[in-house]
């Protein structure tokens, strides 16, 4: 059997499919570390995907598309923060509301602007092979011949891990999620930390969506995130909010997502539905095996109000 071809496809497209999950899950890692459960992540990704695609299509610039996705993500993150941090309203309700709204908004705008057409981007991001590494047989060209944004996502893992473990902000972030009252008493500005965390979460969600439409697929269709935002939340939980483990989880589920392509390449005859459902079943299975009990940050989902225990 053509194992080499399978491996190349799985690694090559799996690593690309992992990027939106990775970006969104890294952002969610920060948000959850600060005690915010962002169920609006799916919606933020979708709006990021639409905005990024629209801007890239109109300007012809991939970079501007990514930037637009990132900016709209920031706006949405701040909006989520305003409601849940400043006003202290229920995070689950706002998150689900945002996801419902985003599905409607992006579908509405897409239909209204493009009718029944499905335009694709004319330009795509060029590949950037890394010298020497990309010459490794079999895996080299699959792993080290990516579009620049993929390398950026990998670098961000290291950056996020460093921030979380080695900086004052990282320490305050962790303290806020575990015990906001104690953090506040120790002089941490809980509100500022949470706003920073959700801003980063929003930026990463918007960027993840834009990556999906602008770089990975080159088109937009309504509802195109098909639950990837929720998978990203699960990946953050599975990785126990540690960036390196989040990276492993994202790659695993990226490969699962691209499994149907891979099996087609080597000619395995299996109903595509069974392969397509694997990531979702896999998330449940992985949560059972890896997560165990009581691993959530203690203050997750709880609004913080000064002077109230």
């Amino acid at each position: 059997m053509n194992v080499e071809a399978l491996l190349t496809v799985l690694l090559g497209s799996g690593l690309v499919a992992a990027v939106p999950l990775l970006l969104a899950a890294l952002g969610e890692t920060f948000a959850e570390r600060a005690g915010l459960l962002n169920l609006g992540l799916e919606g933020m990704m979708l709006i990021g995907a639409f905005t990024g695609f629209f801007v890239a299509l109109r300007t012809g610039s991939i970079l501007l598309g990514l930037l637009a996705g990132l900016m709209i993500g920031l706006v949405l993150g701040l909006f989520f923060g305003l409601l849940t941090i400043t006003l202290g309203v229920d995070q689950v309700i706002v998150g689900l509301g945002l996801t419902l709204f985003a599905g409607g908004l992006t579908g509405f705008l897409f239909r209204d602007i493009f009718g029944s057409r499905f335009p694709t981007l004319a330009t795509s991001s060029p590949r950037l092979p890394i010298p020497l590494l990309s010459a490794i047989p079999i895996i080299g060209s699959a792993i080290f011949n990516q579009r620049p944004m993929v390398y950026v996502a990998w670098l961000l893992v290291i950056v996020f891990a460093f921030i979380l473990a080695r900086t004052r902000f990282g320490l305050e972030l962790r303290a806020t999620g575990e015990n906001p009252l104690a953090a506040d008493a120790a002089g941490v500005n809980v509100f500022r930390i949470r706003y920073l965390a959700i801003s980063i979460g929003g930026i990463m969600a918007g960027l993840a969506g834009a990556f999906l439409s602008v770089i990975d697929l080159n088109f937009f269709v309504p509802g195109m995130t098909v639950g990837q935002g929720f998978i990203a939340i699960a990946v953050a939980m599975l990785g126990k909010w540690r960036p390196y483990r989040v990276f492993l989880g994202a790659v695993l589920f990226g490969i699962l997502r691209s499994l149907s392509n891979g099996l087609q390449v080597i000619g395995v005859d299996i109903r595509p539905e069974f392969v397509l459902m694997l990531p979702y079943l896999g998330i449940i299975l992985a949560l059972v095996v890896l997560a165990g009990r009581t691993s959530l940050p203690a203050a997750l989902g709880v609004p913080y109000e000064r002077g109230r225990k």
């Binding site: 309203v89 689900l96 509301g97 996801t99 709204f101 998978i231 109903r271 539905e273 079943l281 009990r293």
Partner: protein, 354 residues
């Protein structure tokens, strides 16, 4: 002042209405920004939805699944658990009825067939809820993520069923066998096509209302919803209560699927996914988890679904406008809760001081 307590009791309803009005206003501004005429659109929504016999009929038809789903949601939300897997449970229940109903049609009295189909739909939905429910109870796994994941699995499972083993071989499109019209839910007297599903829905909601107002189970579920710790300390069977809440709501979602196959579509079609789940959340929250309020709010949301179709057809406003509005309603509802908490409670404090 004597009427003051009753006025205070009206505040929750008032803030829900405020949230709906705010969503319509924000939606109107959005329509205006993208170059549509919001007034014309809302006029169509109102006149077609409320002012015509067709509108009222269609609204009552669409109300049935919303009511049935909401009955289950009421149970879970009052018990403090999140079943976001309603869409998947709906699809599984619907597809099982799609398989069973055409086989049974004609072999037995209609009433018996409908009863069996209702049980099949309920069981299908319930079974789909078993995995997240057991994982929640025995592994402490958060049900939000697992129920959402099960939705996507259900989409692919039913897609396989309808394209593979249970495809109607006589048709090109992926669909199951069609139920002959005389073996579907019959229309109610004096109506064109409003069928018994809406009554099933009203009964289900009233039963849940009764459950919470005059039964031990309802009381225990309420305590669980308010504080799991309190329920544990009082020696209540927390695990069994959680299971009951999740499974009942899952079963009811499956029953809603049975309703739509037997009363509306007459068959199970591929690519069909009405996604009542999040609509149900908006509905039940706006009804403030009050079973009696759920009924008029279900009418309102069904009206919105039908009016959305009308706006899409006549005012060139994509049907996506409805989920947009519903999402905004949820967000404005959360906001109105904040305002309520802040100003109402401040008023209470002032009263105490005086």
């Amino acid at each position: 002042m004597n009427n003051r307590p009753s006025l205070r009791a009206m505040v929750p309803l008032f803030s829900s209405i405020l949230a709906i009005v705010a969503a319509f206003l924000a939606g109107g501004v959005f329509l205006w920004l993208v170059g549509k005429d919001p007034l014309a659109a809302y006029t169509i929504l109102l006149t077609r939805g409320l002012g015509s016999r067709l509108g009222v009929t269609e609204t009552l038809v669409k109300m049935a699944p919303l009511l049935i789903v909401s009955a289950g949601l009421l149970i879970t939300l009052k018990a403090g658990v999140w079943n976001i897997g309603l869409d998947g449970q709906f699809l599984i229940g619907a597809s099982m009825v799609g398989v069973v109903a055409p086989l049974l049609a004609g072999t037995m009295p209609l009433a018996l067939m409908l009863l069996i189909c209702a049980v099949v739909g309920f069981t299908g939905g319930l079974l789909w809820g078993v995995i997240p429910a057991l994982l929640k109870v025995f592994y402490g796994l958060n049900e939000i993520i697992t129920t959402i994941m099960m939705n996507f699995v259900a989409v692919y499972v039913t897609s396989w069923l309808v394209k593979g083993p249970f495809k109607d071989p006589g048709v090109v499109a992926p669909q199951m066998a069609t139920i002959p019209p005389e073996y579907r839910l019959p229309p109610l007297p004096f109506t064109d096509r409003v069928h018994a599903g809406v009554l099933v829905g009203i009964v289900a909601v009233l039963l849940v209302y009764g459950l919470f107002h005059s039964s031990t189970l309802g009381f225990e579920l309420t305590v669980l919803g308010r504080s799991k710790k309190a329920a544990l300390h009082a020696g209540m069977p927390v695990n069994r209560l959680t299971l009951a809440a999740l499974l009942l709501s899952a079963g009811l979602a499956g029953l809603a699927g049975a309703n739509d196959v037997l009363g509306v579509k007459g068959l199970f079609q591929g690519e069909w996914n009405p996604e009542y789940g999040l609509t149900g959340f908006a509905l039940v929250f706006l009804a403030r988890l009050n079973g009696l309020l759920v009924i008029p709010f279900a009418y309102f949301f069904a009206f919105l679904l039908f009016g959305g179709e009308m706006m899409a057809r006549t005012a060139k406003i994509p049907a996506f406008y409805v989920p947009m509005l519903e999402g905004m309603m949820l967000i404005f509802f959360a906001l109105s809760m904040y305002i309520e908490r802040r100003y109402l409670h401040r008023a209470e404090r002032v009263e105490k001081i005086i």
